[in-house]
Point group: C2
Chain length 338, copies 2
DNA sequence: GGCTGGCACTCGTATGCGGTGAGTGCCAGG
DNA sequence: CCTGGCACTCACCGCATACGAGTGCCAGCC
């Protein structure tokens, strides 16, 4: 077990390194933080911290930098989430209040997060699986062609074109629309399959094929589109990484382009609260030198999607976590209102 | 006027420089292209080309690289758009055919373009202004709350929530829906304002306010959403720029984040065919060392939106132009089918 | 007049070499 | 257990040198 002072030394190292981006030495530490001991003592502490794997030296005669393990300890034990200032909170609220629809909410959230944290922001669209159906609309586009429009309680809209096996009259369509909505409106997506199972039985034989087609398309849409969309922004902030980094930035950009990777990344974070994944804790190789701070957000009590930021492991964890948490909270409010 | 051989020298310089990313000297030129003359002669030609501003030397004792003006001449006079190979065409078709809806079409197009050109791809969503209305749907969400859903001929869907001044019955809603659609379905967006102008007159006095509100929201949607969306991809390709300049990449990333900038960029290209903007021809400062190749695409004869790629001025113009043109053509086909 | 070979010149890059200093580990003493 | 002192390491900086690709120019040739 590390003594209290050694933990303080670790905290100081993390803070200084995050600030200066340069390895921090024992002398500088004692000067900038009043630890009440001499550099020599700090050196001993540092040697101990290095033995335990919390810090490392890039070169023999350089200062120390925190390792992933060091950041982990810092985040778990030493850091307190830094709440935003009042003006910041107001700015967030004002900015998000201006959104006109779901796309806009997500887009604004991304910009906001990227600006607040000066890092790459990732915002997942509210998931379909956990949403409820607000309305299903069927539109006749041609005699044997129907457009299915699905509207969720979070304001998301999905549409799908359907080729019917047989022509389908306007009255039948209206009938189907009415019956469908009376069954599924307000229900959770996961319940829909059960609810519509016996629907074709109420129709004429000639229409039954089409009804079946429409239903299966609806179910497909519910399931397939579970594959969730997301939006990212602030990639320009990657250039702040370090002066060395054309090599570091590339795999990160590549990873960010793969929505699948990002979705998995957000999905892995099971913690109901905020999750911080540091460096090699991220499964994806390209993100081994980055940390991901993510948190769920949602209109009600339950989280419907996640958002977060991706930045260098050497990031301002307290500030970032504060910003992420605050933004998630406000986005939840906005969604609840609409 | 430049002699034929000098033009050939310029062409050779562009080709070599694009290939090697290094300034090209007179000796190397004569070795790799059989110009039929000696290095000394080429040197004279190069001096002339430099006087005219087509090429420049980064340092006194280095080879030459093309200037923006040089690339311009190359693109206008010396390059032929390189058609794609048959397998490439098949791959495009197959990949795009798999798309399930408009979002998917755009997403796949971006990926495709980025992969084919190994550069940053930008695809604009089919514009609202030039589209026609396929259907307007009105859904009652609450007694005095209506959702407006607008579907375009390109499959794009826009929705908008409306708070009505007074409760609005289902029958009135159905009535409005029917009258609205009979007037605007199949018409161009630009014509809609005229077409609905006198619509409120046919309604009861108590409903007229609501009808008016719905109509003005519709018109707003038509106008405001003219502000068009777009999707970008392949930003990781920016890292191929050169090993030298992480400084160049930053402003480009920043510019790419600003949708407004990109939209203006695509919008400026008035040429009905393909447009190439080279280096400083781009108004935006951050893109002064990049070239933009863009072209319109559309389902019918008319272009409904644009797509293109952004890359270093030192790009493979014939190949890029070929890829952009081919992709635009196929996307147009896909849109026409759906 | 235009092309060619030769030649001197420029200048950016690579290489080698001390000097400097931040930072360390260790040790003896308080 | 902390502290001051001390020798040691090694990345970084500046500088001086060598190298060589590439140029411009000129005299000669077709």
């Amino acid at each position: 077990m590390l003594s209290e002072r050694r933990l303080q030394v670790l905290r100081a190292i993390v803070q200084d390194y995050v600030g200066t981006e340069e390895p921090v030495g024992s002398k500088a530490l004692t000067e900038r933080h009043n630890l009440g001991v001499s550099p020599a003592t700090v050196r001993n502490d540092m040697a101990a911290l290095e033995d335990e794997g919390y810090i490392a030296q890039p070169h023999t005669s350089a200062g120390r930098i925190p390792t992933d393990k060091g950041y982990r300890l810092f985040v778990d034990k030493l850091a307190e989430v830094k709440p935003l200032t009042a003006p910041e909170r107001r700015a967030i609220q004002n900015f998000l209040d201006g959104a006109v629809d779901l796309d806009d909410v997500v887009a604004r959230t991304v910009r906001l997060l990227a600006q607040l944290t000066r890092q790459v922001a990732v915002v997942q669209y509210p998931s379909l699986t956990r949403s409820t159906v607000r309305h299903v609309e069927l539109l006749s586009m041609a005699p044997a062609r129907v457009m299915l429009v699905l509207i969720t309680d979070t304001g998301r809209v999905e549409q799908r074109m359907i080729d019917c096996p047989a022509p389908f009259g306007e009255t039948s369509l209206a009938d189907l629309r009415a019956r469908l909505n009376s069954r599924v409106a307000g229900r959770r997506f996961t319940d829909v399959p059960q609810l519509v199972q016996d629907l074709p039985e109420g129709f004429e034989a000639e229409d039954r094929g089409t009804v079946q087609t429409v239903l299966s398309t609806l179910l497909e849409t519910l399931v397939e589109r579970t594959e969730e969309r997301l939006m990212i922004g602030g990639t320009a902030n990657l250039t702040r990484f370090g002066h060395d980094f054309p090599l570091t930035i590339r795999p990160v950009l590549e990873a960010l382009e793969e929505q699948v990777v990002l979705l998995k990344l957000l999905g892995e974070a099971k913690d109901p609260g905020m999750t911080v994944r540091i460096g090699h804790e991220n499964a994806h190789e390209g993100l081994n030198s980055t940390s991901v701070v993510s948190v769920g957000y949602g209109s009600g009590g339950e989280a419907v999607a996640k958002l977060g930021v991706v930045g260098p492991t050497r990031m301002d964890y307290p500030g970032t976590m504060g910003a992420v948490r605050a933004v998630a909270r406000y986005v939840g409010q906005i969604l609840a209102e609409s």
